[in-house]
Subunit: 331 residues, 2 copies
């Protein structure tokens, strides 16, 4: 039986045999998500998906990146601009201009001369954070309680005591509270904000007080750069195709900008999915962060006990608990 | 004045103008490291560098990856094996076989049939952690005190109060103590262990109690997978050329394994640098984690106040404070 870290042979035989009398192997976080009931998965509206088609690669293969836009109360001013930019087909013919290792991939108009569509909002820096609504705090609290309950029940069902409890109270270097609401990782305290995890998509800007229009976007391709939280607007996350960005050659100029126009990667189009013909609309769903399945998944991320692991971590930082998202066959 | 997140124009003009009577801009973490006195930089012995040359890329360009091996008390059994494997030229003709987005790149013998050199040690799982020596705990404590003192003095020297103090006591979801000793991030409590940050290099293994020989290696190319800490041996970190691994096409089989032999990236050779001719030996140095410069650098990573930033984070997780490493011209 070979493992994850060894070979392709391993990858082909991930399911361990179960012998009579032996307890079943404890499922991995991925297995928990994969076996969650259909009712725990929530469809993402096509109107909240931004579809970026890069020019085909050197072998002619399509490169599609799908971004899920954030819900209120976060960043709605910028997201409104992004909807206008997409509707105007503004990004068509622009390019990926910067790829900095362990940091970001950035795209937009390299010339900085392309006129923006009329009517874009200028958004205030105060919008980098939001006031936590009572319902959001209630949800965070309910999710925490649900997790405690689900984990307790599940542990009690196991044939022997196996788990390191996840008991750390302050688990984050960047905020006093953190958790998941409506499918999104958030952090904060008296204010709350979305978090720069791997795949997060944000809005390039000039020096303060500029906050960016939304025309210049980036995504995280390395360790979570949480120092950017509250300093720059996050508007969504890549939910499919990030490998088309993260595997691009790194730029050799300062900050990973490409040196020549030839290195830039052309963007064929960016559209809101609901503007595409129905049959071409990509469909995705996420595992409800308000479900028992997610509670078990998050616990398993913090305390791996599937067969490869020997010592559960006893905790996990919020960016090491990516919300499961999966494609759905078109109707 | 354009910023980091906007354009190449920005990248060419990072230095802000200073006007008479205005305080100088607060330096970025990178600027603090770049202006550190030469005495704060420590040369890395060529005998602690593992030099991996991949086959040239499609354009014939060389691809060299340099890995710094860890010092005692960590992982010396595996590192001894790795020295033997390199001396035997064992990796020459093997390949990169797995590239999983936001996780790892893995290399070694895809056939799993190549005989290993004689005399490799079998290392115990107990070696995933180490007992903290008194001198290591003293160093951690001294570094904490140094940071407090340096930051206090530096802040007092500023013309106005600008800093959010970094006062969080428990800043890590994975351990009770964490810090830097002799250039390496470590975490733990009654036991200590090295940390899976971006670029960390570890040893592939089969299921427990196997611990791997060191012939199969991987490096982290995504958000720190700290759940692997204490579950698998770390032996070093990539200090140069990680882009040759992180920008490889992602494998399309389970866990990111390449499907076909044609996709694998050939490894021309792996050598300990001291075995190369003197003129070909790469030379690097790291910023002493026991220096005032590093204390200021680490504080600046947690509290960015260089011109782009408007809200300092007030903390940083250990993997968001990469130890500065730089190449040195050959003598």
């Amino acid at each position: 039986m070979k493992h994850l870290f060894l070979t392709a042979v391993a990858a082909a035989s991930l399911v361990l045999p179960v012998y009579a009398g032996e307890p079943a192997p404890i499922p991995s976080p991925g297995e928990i998500a994969a076996t969650a009931p259909a009712s725990d998965w929530i469809a993402i509206a096509p109107s909240d998906l931004l579809v970026m088609d890069l020019a085909p690669d050197a072998k002619g293969k399509a490169r599609r990146v799908v971004i899920q836009l954030m819900p209120a109360p976060f960043s709605q001013g910028w997201i409104g601009n992004i909807r206008k930019l997409a509707a105007a087909h503004w990004w068509d013919g622009t390019s990926v201009n910067r790829v900095q290792d362990n940091y970001v991939v950035q795209w937009g108009d390299a010339t900085e001369k392309k006129p923006l569509p009329a009517g874009l909002a200028t958004v205030s820096e105060s919008e980098y954070v939001a006031a936590p609504s009572a319902s959001m705090l209630d949800t965070l609290h309910a999710n925490r309680k649900r997790k405690e309950q689900v984990v307790k029940q599940w542990r009690a069902s196991q044939p022997f005591a196996i788990y390191t409890p996840d008991t750390r109270k302050k688990v984050d270097a960047y905020s006093d509270i953190q958790g998941f609401v409506s499918g999104w990782p958030i952090a904060g305290g008296s204010e709350i904000w979305p978090v720069h995890c791997y795949g997060a998509v944000g809005v390039g800007r000039n020096l303060s007080p500029d906050t960016g229009s939304g025309a210049e976007l980036y995504t995280v391709i390395g360790h979570a750069p949480r120092h950017l939280d509250r300093n720059i607007a996050l508007i969504g996350r890549v939910i499919s195709g990030i490998e088309h960005l993260s595997s691009l050659p790194r730029g050799t100029e300062a900050l990973g900008f490409y040196k020549s126009e030839a290195e830039r990667v052309p963007i064929a189009s960016i559209r809101i999915a609901s503007e595409l013909p129905a049959v071409e609309q990509p469909r995705f769903e996420y595992l409800s962060t308000e479900s028992d399945s997610f509670a078990r998944y998050a616990d398993a991320r913090a305390n791996r006990r599937d067969p490869f692991f020997i010592t559960p971590a006893g905790g996990a930082d919020i960016c090491n608990i990516p919300v499961p998202v999966r494609p759905v066959a078109a109707k």
